[in-house]
């Protein structure tokens, strides 16, 4: 079957969840990716929704992070104090998903402002729970579409810390007692990146049809490329069917 770049991105993100246990879920792309993973590579994945739901069994694709369909039939509903305090800060979350308006080569993220903080060109939503996920989830997966405007040399505001200045990132996290080890994967519409020993993004896999030139055109720095760069396996018919028929039948996120 043919597939869109968004579909490839979702499928690639879902596959990264193999072997993971507890995932913090936001709405939109991460929600679809996580639910696809649960139906395919990670049947035992436990989902924790930011709105305070554990063990959700949504009867439809949730339209917002607090859709009533994630509550009915769930295992547990908790206050946000407990959700953020006991589940996230308490260290129970293995993987948190983040997106942002800007990312730098070390995986630091901006979802607060474009321009100066006091007089912004564009006022973005702000942290929400993002800075908490970045610090307290054991690992962070990033899903973002690539462009020169979003993959930048310098982010305008650091909302969610990634590997900080690169080499020193792991040390700072350890010394300050963070539970999270930071971003481990960035999945885009063009490829999949991991982080090298300097804490810098490195292109490890190119999606079918994408080229290194297309990747370079869609980011503001010269990316490191793995010597063993591979091509991402295209979405299988099963994966596509699940996305199209069950997870996003109206194509809200995947067109």
């Amino acid at each position: 079957m043919t597939f869109s770049r968004s579909e490839m991105m979702i499928v690639a993100a879902a596959r990264e969840l193999r072997g993971q246990r507890v995932c913090f879920v936001g709405v939109g792309l991460p929600n679809i990716a996580v639910n696809l993973a649960k139906l395919t590579v990670a049947p035992d994945l436990e989902l924790v929704y930011e709105a305070g739901v554990f063990g959700a069994r949504p009867a439809r694709l949730p339209l917002s992070i607090g859709d009533p369909t994630i509550v009915t039939g769930a295992t547990a509903v908790t206050s946000m104090f407990e959700l953020f305090g006991f589940y996230l800060q308490g260290g129970l979350i293995d993987v948190g998903f983040l997106g942002a308006a800007q990312i730098d080569r070390f995986g630091n993220l901006n979802s607060t402002v474009i321009g100066e903080y006091a007089t912004p060109k564009t006022r973005l939503p702000g942290s929400g729970g993002a800075c908490e996920i970045a610090i307290n989830a054991r690992q962070v997966f990033v899903i973002m579409r690539q462009s020169k405007r979003s993959f930048v040399e310098r982010i305008d505001f650091r909302t969610s810390p990634g590997n900080l200045g690169g080499k020193d990132g792991a040390r700072v996290r350890r010394e300050q007692g963070w539970l999270g080890t930071g971003p481990s994967v960035v999945v885009t519409d063009l490829g999949v990146y991991n982080f090298d020993e300097d804490g810098e993004m490195r292109l490890d896999s190119l999606h079918p049809g994408a080229t290194i030139e297309a990747v370079r055109d869609a980011m503001a720095w010269q990316p490191k490329v793995s010597p063993t760069l591979t091509e991402t396996a295209p979405p299988s018919d099963d994966e596509l069917r699940l996305v199209r028929e069950s997870l996003d039948p109206e194509g809200i996120y995947t067109k």
Binding site: V27, G28, E50, A51, G52, V53, L63, S64, I65, G66, D67, P68, V71, T72, G73, V77, T78, S79, M80, F81, F84, G85, L88, Q89, T112, Y117, A118, T119, P120, K121, T122, R123, P125, G126, S127, G128, G129, A130, C131, E132, I135, N136, F157, R158, T159, S160, P161, L164, V172, E175, Q176, G177, W178, L179
Partner: protein
């Protein structure tokens, strides 16, 4: 609602209409607009459409928040208009979700601060100097502190309460309890007024005691276009429409004229909304919790 807002919400107050996606009391926000309150400080994790409407209507001078967007849809344009560019007219005080929850909790507990493991190596403490570090007295490093938030008024929507304000909620709990205990005055707005016996049959379900409640208002569908678990669904069509309505001051004003100033109260709003649209938001079937036994002990 008219009387509760008239008596309990004053110009210059800090007002929290809480509820994380669930049970957002739009009807109270509309009444505040109708009564022309000014210079409010509005606090909420997610300003959502209700604060976009209120700020678009000019009731506020300051916003205290952690995530500003139209969830699952896009932007809050009325708010963006007054905080972008060279001369923002709305003061922002910005935290993260847990920071806001911790602030309400400190307020409810009469603590001078609440410690959390957020904000490390971010620009947020620079943007908001009230986010400060605090050293552990056990020699094991620093965490961040946020100050207590004690609203003058907290407004909570709920499925049910008795006449004394003993309030029960199921589904997402957000931080309504913390925000209510932190507040000086509390208004509870309910889908259903029930007898004391209904509340007393299941005391573990009570999240807010009448002890801290100043007014109980009965307004079914008062959280529309947000939702009330078991009563009605989120009216997602309206959330989508808001994107266009809020994009220009003229369309926003026209909407306020029609749907807020143009109706005297929630009942009129609901009539205008129409029975059909309301019916379409009802759950497709019931999903009963089942009953547990507390036992009689004589």
């Amino acid at each position: 609602m008219h009387d509760a807002i008239a008596a309990l919400v004053r110009d210059g107050d800090t007002v929290a209409i809480e509820g994380f996606t669930h049970l957002i009391c739009f009807s109270a926000g509309h009444e505040i607009i109708r009564q022309g309150r000014r210079d409010l400080t509005l606090a909420r994790l997610t300003p959502d459409l209700i604060y976009d409407q209120m700020i678009g209507a000019g009731v506020a001078r300051k916003l205290v928040f952690s995530w500003m967007g139209n969830p699952g849809v896009g932007s809050l344009h009325a708010i963006r208009r007054v905080c972008e560019g060279d001369a923002p007219t709305l003061e922002l005080e910005e935290y993260s979700h847990f920071g806001m929850v911790a602030r309400y909790t400190a307020g409810a507990m009469n603590l001078p601060f609440f410690p959390i493991r957020s904000y490390f190596e971010t620009d947020l403490p620079r943007a908001n100097p009230l986010i400060r570090t605090i050293a552990s007295p056990y020699g094991d490093g620093e965490v961040y502190a946020v100050p207590p938030l004690k609203p003058d008024v907290t407004i909570v929507h709920a499925q049910r309460a008795d006449a004394n304000g003993n309030t029960q909620v199921w589904g997402l709990l957000g931080c309504q309890k913390e925000a209510a205990f932190a507040a000086d005055r509390v208004i509870v707005v309910v889908e259903e007024l029930v007898s004391e016996d209904v509340i007393r049959a299941d005391p573990n379900r009570t999240i807010i005691p009448g002890l801290i409640v100043d007014a109980v208002v009965v307004e079914p569908f008062g959280a529309h276009p947000s939702y009330a678990q078991g009563h009605y669904d989120r009216d997602n069509r309206f959330y989508l429409e808001w994107e266009a309505i809020s994009r220009e001051p003229a369309t926003l004003d026209a909407w306020l004229d029609e749907w807020v100033h143009g109706v005297p109260d929630r009942a009129a709003y609901l009539e205008k909304l129409g029975a059909e649209r309301r019916a379409a938001l009802r759950p497709s079937a019931s999903a009963p919790s089942g009953s547990v036994d507390y036992g009689e002990y004589r």
